[in-house]
């Protein structure tokens, strides 16, 4: 009886969704890097430790996700930041924010050790239009935009994981084709034998 109870509790404990893909993303959020971590079925990773690495593999710091699977990390150096998390049972997340994006957050030039990246010419225009606003106003606007776009980002992430009928039919088509080739080869073997 004790054993049965143990097995039942083990089954009912919220195990990570093993059958799913890990989704992870990072975005600039004011002075910090915001990221989210979860599974493709919508379960977010709660209280998950995320380790941040620099370009050379050196650890830059650690952070922990909140109840919605979001984490914040404040960069100190304008180098590419790689976020890694081990969600157990063969699920690992690995996302990188390029150095120029980190440099934008810090408001400095990217460090020279990084591979050169094409500069986005449109960004200088955006800076001029908000130049008349005070820092607080800009921060407030940035926060509102972030909050407003968060569900969109999540939806896009979920949509990317979506498997539609076309890819299923495409896969089955490939299988039919491959086994058709198998038939051809087998038939030729039979003919020559």
């Amino acid at each position: 009886m004790k054993k049965l109870t143990l097995i039942c509790t083990l089954i009912l404990t919220p195990l990570p969704a093993l059958a799913h893909k890990v989704i992870a993303g990072v975005f600039p959020a004011g002075e910090a890097i915001e990221g989210e971590l979860g599974f493709s079925n919508g379960d977010m990773a709660v209280d998950q430790e995320v380790i941040v690495y620099g370009l050379d593999g050196a650890e830059l710091g650690r952070t922990v996700t909140d109840a919605d699977g979001f984490f914040l990390f404040t960069p100190t150096r304008p180098v590419a930041h790689t976020f890694k998390a081990d969600l157990g049972a063969g699920h690992v997340a690995d996302v990188t924010m390029p150095a120029d994006e980190v440099a934008d957050i810090l408001g400095v030039e990217a460090e020279a050790s990084d591979p050169p990246v094409l500069a986005a010419p449109a960004e200088s225009g955006a800076t001029i239009t908000v130049a008349s606003l005070s820092d607080e106003e800009r921060a407030a606007i940035a926060k509102i935009v972030r909050d407003e776009t968060r569900p969109l980002r999540r939806e896009i992430a979920a949509y990317r994981e979506h498997n539609d009928l076309q890819s299923i039919l495409g896969g089955i088509g490939y299988i039919i084709g491959l086994f058709g080739i198998g038939f051809y080869v087998a038939a030729r073997k039979k003919m020559t034998a």
């Binding site: 990570p16 893909k21 049972a89 063969g90 299988i175």
Partner: protein
Amino acid sequence: MHIVDGALANPVVIGGAVAAAGGIAIGLKSLDLDRIPTAGVLAASFFVASLIHVPIGPSSVHLILNGLAGLLLGWAAFPALFVGLLLQTVFFGFGGLTVLGVNTVNIALPAVLTWMLFGRLIARGSPVHGAIWGGIGGAFSIAATTGFVAVSLALSGDAFLPAAKLVFFAHIPVMAIEAVLTGFAVLLARKVKPELFIKVATS
């Protein structure tokens, strides 16, 4: 069940690829003209089965059907499941290309073991008798797969027992569902097309 890129150590990935290549070679050799359609149908079922998510409590699991593939195909389960896995990786992003070998071994080797252990048993006696053994075989192949996944993770540095327990217990519902499914599949095949098994079991 699908281990992703970057979760395993390099020697495990390479070892898995070599073992998978060996299994596929044996499988292709054993795959004669008559059994190509069976292999194709099972590859397609395996490919689609992973999309059928069964919600269990807070989590959800998907079917694998490797036991059934093993019982019907024997060694030919290797190429069939490899094709299914390859297409799942390319189309759905399950697993990854570098770990394809390890995933193939983790799923196809239990299928072959199931065939070796239960292949003769399901072809003997009454169809119901065979169906019960088929059900046990279906559950066994999932259990073996969880063990293989845990071994792959353990060889890459994870502690074996916690990893094995986690994967095993999460898949108990799949084992139950697959046991029923495989059992009924065997029952139907024994009644409608009994030669499907006898050929496999004696070859």
